[in-house]
């Protein structure tokens, strides 16, 4: 087998013995290797070089958008026709959709305990909608009763309100108590416009 002929320099290289500056090879070599304005970022004909015909450097690269198919929907790649069709379907679905129910805040710990008791009672984990509703109804009823009791417990008596009012006029607790005892709580509150 004849060994391949190894050349010392490629065609058009100035160091070759047959170099002709006017030859096509020499001109091509010079085009590729001589850069009169300085060092290049990419070699000649590199797809990213600014002077390579057909380079894509001008295309914006945006998140979700195929630079070669910018008409397609970002992130999904759907065609405009598909997008329009889906929008129509989605609009119809949104018209038919219902707003979420408004829920009253609950104490998760208490309700979970009540739900747990219900589960134990029924012997299964998953409760039906009605069973959930029953538990929540009982929770809200208990809570409302508790709140009403607490309100009643913490409600200031007429006498307390009158003493508080007199104190707010600058009298000490002892003096305010004496004044309320003498004048009567109701009369003081009426004169202050607190009670009709």
């Amino acid at each position: 087998m004849t060994p391949p002929i190894e050349q010392d320099f490629p065609a058009g290289h100035p160091a070759r013995h047959d170099w002709d500056p006017e030859s096509t090879e020499a001109k091509e070599w010079a085009r590729q290797h001589v850069h009169p304005v300085g060092e290049r970022d990419f070699q000649i004909d590199h797809p990213k070089a600014a002077d390579t015909p057909g380079n894509l450097n001008h295309l914006p690269v945006t998140a979700g958008v195929d630079p070669l198919n910018p008409h397609r929907e970002p992130f999904t790649g759907r065609s405009p026709a598909q997008v329009a069709g889906l929008r129509k379907l989605s609009e119809a679905a949104s018209q038919a959709a219902v707003e979420s129910p408004v829920l009253q805040p609950i104490d998760a710990e208490v309700v979970n305990r009540l739900l747990s008791a219900k589960r134990h009672e029924l012997g299964r984990d998953l409760l039906t909608e009605a069973e959930y509703t029953d538990v929540l109804k009982a929770y809200h009823a208990d809570r409302a009763a508790g709140v009403a009791t607490a309100q009643a417990e913490f409600k200031l008596s007429l006498e307390d309100q009158a003493i508080s009012y007199v104190q707010s006029r600058g009298y000490s607790l002892d003096v305010a108590t004496t004044i309320v005892g003498t004048e009567g709580a109701e009369a003081i509150l009426k004169s202050a416009g607190i009670m009709p």
Binding site: A63, G64, P74, F75, T76, R87, L89, S90, E91, A93, S94, Q95, A96, A97, V98, E99, S100, P101, V102, L103, Q104, P105, I106, D107, A108, E109, V110, V111, N112, L115, S116, R119, H120, E121, L122, G123, R124, D125, L126, L127, E129, Y132, R143
Partner: protein
Amino acid sequence: MGRALEVVAGFATNPGATLTTLTPSTGQSFTVRGTDITKGTWLLTHWAFNATAGEMRVRSPRLHDFFSGIRNRVTAAFSMPVHSAPDTASYAQRLYAQDQLTVEISGGGAELDCGALLIGYEDLGGVAGRFIDNPTLQKIGLNETTVEVTVTAVATGNFGGAVAINSSIDNLIANTDYAIRGGLVDTRGTAVGITGVDFGNLRVGFPAEPSLRNLTEGWFLHLAQVFQGAWIPVFNSANKTQTTVDVETNGAGGTYVVNLNIVQLLPGQVPGGATGAAVQAGGGGAPTSAGQPK
């Protein structure tokens, strides 16, 4: 401790250049709930979803000032926090019990523009939601899984289309605690909401932004990390039919595929959970140790 987290969203109809007060979604309010004033209540973050660029403003006489408050530019079609995004570092605004926040937005002249606030309560009486912090998740997390639901949002600017968390794929192990790391959406909207018994029936949520997957996929994890607290919601699969996912968006409505990234937890580690009667805790075959790479 009665910890709670609530996303409150609202909308303005055709605000144009006028800073218009947001109408809160049905059943919600921009008034801070009544809390123990010795415990912190925080505006953890807020965001907007405009079809046309505008401004979002949150103010109250009790915050820095009632003149301009926290005011930010809202870029069009991008549901991204404008204040205090929980990525690597963040700063929450302190709120005050029963303070009526004024939340305004400007934007397009022929559209619904929407905004959402995420409010964290360190102790909200009568709620006691179930939340854990990152070290706890690292310690008791077992397996990661995903629940996927399809939500059809309403076009009125309110939260809508609520579906149970197991409505599309019912792969949860019975009577097991799961932490919600965050989630992903395929369609842009204002907010994804998750409501359930375990969160005290308040709605926890994250921005419905499909292009910020690195932020939303671990949204609650990020919140817990940057605010150094227990802000990762935990629910029990026994409550799956009562744990719902919904979406708030603008007048375009839309169909949303929502993926929630959840982590199965060791049984009995998070207080306040369900203890079912019929099924063994943790699904019967759960390992007893957990952890993350050291």
